[in-house]
């Protein structure tokens, strides 16, 4: 895909920096959508340039704004720390060093009432992001297309089952990436589709053997 007109006349976002603010909002928002409900606790660790400049760029406000469900162009992000308190989101901010990581990396360890999630991601420029780790497994997802995240076990036929459900429901798979911890261990499969996958199809995906969760994140 070439560059779009609105990559040049845009993105429309809260300032001051597309990488240190807009991208950080997107990472927070992906984390919230993976959790599927209100985030109650979050431990946020910044690396590299994020660690050095987050205070001046409002990167922590951006991540928390995303965790609260704001899109990058929401004026409320400026007030997100106060809103977090109001909405019962407890957070802690840390900085750390790891030279192997992209310079704008954040680790978010979040919890809703129902579950915990550990997500690492990088803001790679112009507001674009790359989620690099979910629950200890390496992934690679930009969320620029409609994306389904599937949690399952490593077993023969699971992938075929997933592909079968999507195809028979009329979805085209644009991209698919799978990562596993070890043989017969946990797997996360990231599937990009051309249009958002509906509820009924997600239900059917959950019926595929060993699939424990299927989360749809529409492109944003």
């Amino acid at each position: 895909m070439g560059i779009g007109l609105f990559d040049i006349l845009g993105p429309i976002t809260v300032g001051p920096s597309s990488s240190h603010t807009a991208g950080a909002v997107r990472l927070g928002l992906v984390c919230r959508r993976l959790l599927g409900s209100d985030v109650k606790q979050a431990k946020i660790t910044f690396y590299g340039s994020f660690a050095e400049t987050y205070k001046g760029h409002g990167t922590e406000k951006a991540v928390i704004g995303g965790l609260l469900g704001f899109l990058p162009d929401n004026e409320k992000i400026r007030e997100s720390l106060a809103l977090a308190e109001f909405r019962g989101l407890q957070y802690q901010i840390f900085t750390a060093e790891d030279l192997r990581l992209h310079p704008n990396t954040v680790l978010i360890e979040a919890a809703s009432k129902e579950r915990n999630l550990r997500m690492m991601g990088a803001s790679v420029g112009g507001g674009a992001v790359c989620v690099t780790e979910i629950n200890g497994m390496e992934v690679e997802a930009s969320f620029e297309e409609d994306t389904v995240i599937l949690f399952h076990r490593d077993a023969p036929g699971v992938l075929a089952g997933i592909a079968h459900v999507l195809t028979s429901c009329g979805y085209n798979i644009g991209n698919l990436r799978l990562s596993r911890t070890r043989r017969e261990g946990d797997v996360i499969t990231v599937v990009e589709t051309d249009v958002p996958v509906d509820e009924e199809t997600l239900e059917r995906l959950l019926e595929v053997e060993s699939v424990s969760d299927a989360i749809m994140i529409p492109r944003f």
């Binding site: 040049i8 845009g10 001051p16 406000k61």
Partner: protein
């Protein structure tokens, strides 16, 4: 959009007898698969966000998140209201709106990057001031934005618009070129004149370092947006007078890229060299971390 040559835009524009903006609209339609109406609606929304940011930035005296900057636009606008400005009223308004947008950006206000957040004041500063001063329609403003988008896209595809890759010439230089072309278009210049305006603007930004104090989009970024708005107007005015750039825009873009590649990383958005490395810059950084 995958065009990386300004000559392509000029050829298509001449072949079809259309302004550059219409060629850009056609290209974007092809790329995105959406309708012309949907694209124009987004352009209109972008223009509205630009106006909101410029007005909000003047009306409030918000400080930036770090506290390094704030209040410049209000101060300059006051100067203008008291008729103390040395610049003509058009240029002075452009400075005020550019400072306002950039200041609003630094204070976590909502802006439209053009082409980046750090350079977001230049294009709206020039266009909003021009509309106030010369009274063109919203429709004309959208056309001008499309033209600006075409120039920015060609630079992004042919070189870079990122300060980390090419220094500030890639950000404020591109924004100035976009603003110069947009202004020329809206003032009735031919496509060729728009391109000359962009070339004259970009040529005079070559070599510009990206050396922000403490790595923040504030010093020297906010005031630089004000200064480069005037550079864009100067370039447009020369082009409207018929002055041509000796070096064609495509070649100016190539040289901008070459210069960017040769820049040491300390002046490519790392906050390590240039103004960031001065004693004052270092003191400010220590205070913030």
């Amino acid at each position: 959009m995958d065009f990386s040559s300004i000559e392509y835009l000029l050829d298509e524009s001449a072949k079809n007898g259309l302004p550059i903006g219409q060629i850009v609209l056609r290209e974007e339609q092809r790329e995105s698969g959406t309708s012309k109406e949907a694209i124009m609606e987004r352009v209109a929304h972008t223009w509205q966000v630009m106006k909101n940011a410029a007005n909000a930035g003047i009306a409030t005296d918000m400080r930036s998140v770090s506290g390094l900057t704030g209040g410049d636009a209000a101060q300059y606008y006051n100067h203008l209201r008291n008729h103390k400005n040395l610049l003509g009223s058009f240029e002075a308004k452009a400075v005020a709106y550019a400072l306002a947008t950039s200041g609003y950006n630094a204070a976590m206000g909502v802006i439209a990057a053009a082409p980046t957040a750090g350079a977001a004041g230049i294009l709206p500063g020039v266009l909003i001031a021009a509309q106030e001063e010369y009274g063109f329609s919203e429709r004309d403003a959208y056309e001008a934005l499309l033209t600006a988008g075409g120039i920015g896209t060609a630079i992004a595809n042919r070189a870079t618009i990122s300060g980390a890759s090419g220094g500030c010439q890639a950000e404020c230089g591109t924004a100035s070129a976009m603003a110069a072309a947009a202004l020329t278009e809206v003032m009735g210049g031919t496509p060729r004149k728009c391109v000359n305006a962009a070339a004259l603007a970009l040529k005079n930004c070559l070599g510009l370092a990206c050396d922000p104090v403490a790595g923040l989009v504030e010093v020297p970024c906010v005031k630089r947006n004000g200064v480069y708005a005037v550079l864009a107007i100067t370039a447009a005015d020369m082009a409207l007078a018929g002055i041509q750039s000796f070096i064609p825009l495509d070649e100016v873009i190539d040289s901008m890229y070459q210069i960017g590649c040769g820049m040491p990383s300390c002046i490519r958005e790392t906050g390590e060299g240039g103004l960031a490395a001065t004693p004052t810059g270092q003191t400010a950084k220590r205070r913030l971390t």
